[in-house]
Symmetry: C2
Subunit: 258 residues, 2 copies
């Protein structure tokens, strides 16, 4: 079992006090991602859910668009390598935009900003489920509470929390969820919740994988909102157990708590 944090002695200083303290620091480790044995990039990650991360990372960066092409993923922890195998012929340098994101895959292919999105899965979510979803994710985010350096991402389908991942980067955490969907561990007919901000690339990968409800504890940006509108995504910001703020397509949220 890999230790995900390290202890570090710090010095707490205020005008009248000076004391030693022990802080817990999150592990950040570089991993190189290979597609069909060819290296395509490296990322700093929290080493959990690495298989899902590898798949989600390549999808987010546009190396494949169709989930059916995904075949297999293997890890080599010693060398810090993630090997993804997919049925793609050519591995091309993409016209990538480094995004404003807090995460490993803070890059999006320019082509996806212009592309049409496939229709989203048809389902509606009850406000009581939204509340339960948020509470479950926050309850599980123990590492985040201890280190203040981790983003959590949860996935809700069929009335339960089906996926939960954490990472130093908000993108990486979402990539792990998206990768899990691409690997068949969950269906796109659900809702995703992230503790990170919904900038353009965050919303874009959710739209591309077909998630109809995208939620964040915090804000969105102009381009994040634009992509949600174009894809018809229900975009929820400042999501709290007691109230949510719906930025687009509110009709998917049914108030069963009146």
């Amino acid at each position: 079992m890999l230790t995900l944090t390290l202890k570090h002695r710090t010095q707490l200083k205020s005008p009248n006090t000076e004391e030693e303290r022990e802080e817990e620091v999150i592990l950040e480790r570089p991993y190189r991602i290979y597609l069909n044995e060819e290296p395509v990039g490296s990322s700093m990650v929290l080493p959990t859910g690495l298989e899902e991360f590898g798949v989600g990372f390549l999808f987010a960066q546009g190396y494949f668009d169709n989930p059916t092409v995904f075949k297999e993923v293997r890890l080599c922890h010693e060398k810090g390598s993630i090997f993804v195998y997919a049925d793609v012929e050519k591995i091309e340098g993409k016209d990538l935009i480094v995004t404003s994101g807090c995460g490993g895959t803070g890059k999006i292919s320019r082509e996806f900003l212009e592309k049409e999105f496939s229709p989203l899965a048809e389902w509606r979510m009850k406000l009581s489920e939204v509340r339960e979803f948020i509470l479950k994710v926050l309850k599980k985010s123990d590492l985040g509470l201890r280190t203040h350096c981790v983003h959590a991402c949860g996935y809700w389908e069929n009335g339960r929390l089906s996926l939960f991942y954490e990472d130093v980067g908000r993108h990486n955490a979402v990539d792990k969820v998206v990768g899990a969907i691409l690997m068949g561990k969950a269906s796109p007919k659900g809702a995703i919740y992230t503790t990170g901000r919904l900038t353009s690339d965050m919303v874009l990968k959710c739209a591309r994988v077909g998630i109809p409800i995208v939620m964040s504890r915090t804000a969105t940006s102009s381009l994040g909102l634009e992509i949600a509108k174009k894809a018809g995504i229900t975009l929820i910001c400042y999501a709290r157990p007691e109230r949510i703020n719906i930025f687009n397509a509110p009709e998917r949220i049914i108030n069963d708590l009146v």
Copy 2:
């Protein structure tokens, strides 16, 4: 004057209420960065301090290491382009690591993780200055308060706040400060304060430009701490006006408030 936010009508939903609300959403715009007329990358940014950003971005990504090579920067807002001119002969593809960062330049060259750092400028900071510095940055962070989608970065030298930038990405905000130093708008003999987390690449660029005191409102990661130790940087986390938590080299902070 470019508008940096847009207004958006949202629906606030709680069990017993459903009301319309107007939220302010931050502008996120793609800019392409050119080095000597050659495109080297694109980034989603908040379009302020773009000249500094272009220079800081290229430096962070390892396109140049020596600040004296920098010559000129020009902008084209219509096309979303930043043209940086520097005295570098070859523009090479770098062995970049996409980092866990919340920002445009979430990439670092692998070579910098192994490199020795130049000695840091010799200076110490009073605890009263630390307090004033934090208060001044927080007071200026109006856009962040309004949109919840912006990171601020300030720079302190000669007893005053000399630089202040904001961006959707925490990296971008730091890149703007680092770029300003490289452009001669400030000297490295100072302290930097960011509202974002101090992951590896954040600390690395501060170390490379030679800033001796690096502060954050929030946490650091294992690799961020490692780089600070190697470079001899005074690393301060959870920095608040009333108290700071020093993770490395506390001797640079003098308590004049006892």
